[in-house]
Symmetry: C2
Subunit: 386 residues, 2 copies
């Protein structure tokens, strides 16, 4: 049996951002040695790992050589060189999630086709090789507005996605392979994280709900458990499990879904890693998503995914009017509120809408957590030094 | 206002053992920069801090020069040079807990006298300058057996403490300043952690109970909440608060107490830092003791000390028959049990009774946690590679 704890075993992590940073809390807890690769020398993971390397995650040779120094390789961001992962697998180095899994997810066109092939409900879509093809179909009247435009590659945190309502909206689209997707008039956006280990053990986290700002139409709160009825909960959790089984991934799979007006559940997209929608789990769950990811990829028994208490997560993004050395205004004020924990990712410079951290609010009563979350949201501001 | 988060502020930590390691999870979470000093180059804190220095914690010059590089200095072990702390305070560098607090605690003779002066109930004791003085009083019949012998300095984790039942037990005692304390026929050993910040805000954690092995007479489980009645709980929590107020410490104060057969509460000893009896808080409390310590010494608002769920802690100590490269036998087995989290401190070599880690068991029902804790205890073994 492989011994991970206080041993010579090495876990290689591609990407050293905030997800990696939170993963390192868990490898430190278990005293598992880690190597981290990131293009930024000052990445949040540049401390807390045992070995840090600066390098390009999309470069074949860099990823291959980095991976060879580890016993198991994982990633905290999808934008990594898949060919290098495949080569590492050939050489006997386990990469979890596998190259085959990542490949099906990295490109949104392939991902959407995968849903069709596996009978997984998803919004109707059409794939276009480039912008010209898309525009032609619109001119010919085959593609009606409005629709959701998505670049097949490179999308992350809302980048590479646009809602096209008028012909004017088409102007700023980049020339890229893309999909056009019908707009889903959804009641709720939901997410479920599924963990799966190489032995085939599977566990799903409770359904979370993204609550949107009524005017700005941006996610304001991730709420666990989702305030939806038991039947919809069951449906969402089962669909997430089905998606997980189709991908046969190892590690976490965050499944984002729409609950339509008719209580149909459609898969929007997936991420094969710890996910923003699971951050609440650090404070609220018996086993947080980062520990669960480590357990899963090392074929350890999966932990209990139940919650101890209700949890709400609020993202801390840079205020749109500030760029410069970050200051977390009113952080003391929010730390006075019960059950409030700020997580600061460690980025020195704030920019408009940059993800700088998150705040978790836990409470036995989800309604009370929701009330406090609003106070948090109205108090803290990510600004820059004058 | 001082800005700690993603700023140039530096916290200096004296000692880089497991307590420091768990403190660093919290400084990383808040992105607070840390410097750590420890005599061992491979101390658990040698990674995860921003700057690590190898050096003697009892050496005046080493501690002074290390402290000068920080804005606030704290410690995770009492055995540090107090004169250097005092000098740092004179130079305007905040040290929390203060030199004055540490001084009253480092020497058990001074600590015990402090209880008398402050009307804090404690076991009756007598101070002896050396072994000769003690032996003389015994010969003269002034000191009766049995009693508890404690070295006034250098005691840690049960070292420097002996129960003297027969004259034969006297033989192995070192020649040192010591106290002889009456044996307390206690019903329970209890502990309460009190947090206090420079603004004077005070919060106490729930009372925990040490459950002893019925035969071996060693602590097996730390249980939160203690299974004692409400009146005793109240008494213990109030006494801990009184002790905290007497010391006027800043940071945490772990107050260990005896519940006598008559439900009297006596203070045994205190530790001005995160404490073994508070490890359960990482998984069970709204605010764990390490985050609370950071909040307290930086004069941030103290967090909620309530528990989300019941928690039990089991120490992982080296099996008495093994010395060598550590292996955690059956760790997979315990990770299968619900609500079980192992913490591995990162010491490569196990020795008989060496503290190598701990395991937390959380559950809504403390009786169920207790049942699982026993399974954990009966399963995991800290052995060495063959």
């Amino acid at each position: 049996m492989l011994n991970y704890f206080s041993s010579d075993f090495k876990l290689g992590i591609l990407g050293g951002g905030q997800l990696g940073k939170m993963m390192l809390y868990e490898t430190r807890k278990f005293d598992i040695q880690t190597n981290v690769l990131d293009p930024n020398a000052e990445a949040p993971c540049s401390i807390s790992c045992n070995y840090f390397e600066q390098g390009d995650l999309m470069d074949y040779k860099t990823v291959l050589e980095f991976g060879r120094k580890a016993d198991v390789v994982t990633f905290e961001i999808e934008g990594v060189n898949v060919d290098a992962l495949r080569k590492l697998e050939e050489e006997g180095i386990k990469t979890y999630p596998s190259a085959a899994t990542l490949e099906k997810i990295q490109n949104k066109g392939i991902q959407k086709n995968f849903y069709l092939e596996n009978d997984i409900p998803t919004a109707v879509f059409q794939l276009y090789k480039n912008k010209e093809e898309l525009l032609k179909e619109i001119q010919q009247g085959k593609r009606k507005l409005p629709f959701v435009w998505k670049s097949t590659t490179g999308g992350y945190d809302g980048k590479g996605v646009a809602v096209i309502k008028t012909e004017g909206d088409l102007k700023n689209l980049p020339d890229a392979e893309c999909i056009a997707e019908e707009m889903i008039p959804f009641k709720n956006e939901l997410a479920v994280i599924v963990a799966r280990n190489p032995s085939g053990e599977v566990k799903t986290y409770p359904v979370v709900e993204m609550e949107f700002h009524p005017v700005a139409n941006q996610v304001e709160y991730v709420i666990c458990p989702a305030r939806i009825d038991a039947e919809v909960t069951e449906k969402a959790r089962n669909l997430a499990k089905k998606v997980s089984e189709a991908f046969k991934h190892v590690g976490l799979l965050a499944v984002e879904m729409f609950q339509t007006k008719d209580d149909e559940i459609l898969v929007n997209e997936v991420a094969p890693r710890p996910h923003n929608s699971g951050h609440y789990s650090i404070e609220a769950s018996y086993t947080n998503q980062f520990e669960q990811h480590i357990r899963a990829i090392l074929d350890l028994p999966l932990g209990n995914t139940d919650s101890k208490v209700g949890g709400i997560m609020v993202n801390l993004v840079g205020d749109e009017n500030y760029t410069g050395e970050v200051v977390y205004q009113n952080i003391k004020k929010i730390m006075k509120m019960p059950g409030v924990t700020p997580h600061i990712y460690g980025k020195k410079i704030t920019r408009p809408f940059r993800k700088m951290g998150h705040v978790t609010i836990v409470n036995e009563k989800i309604s009370e957590a929701r009330r406090i979350a609003e106070e948090v949201k109205n108090s803290i501001k990510v600004i820059a030094k004058k």
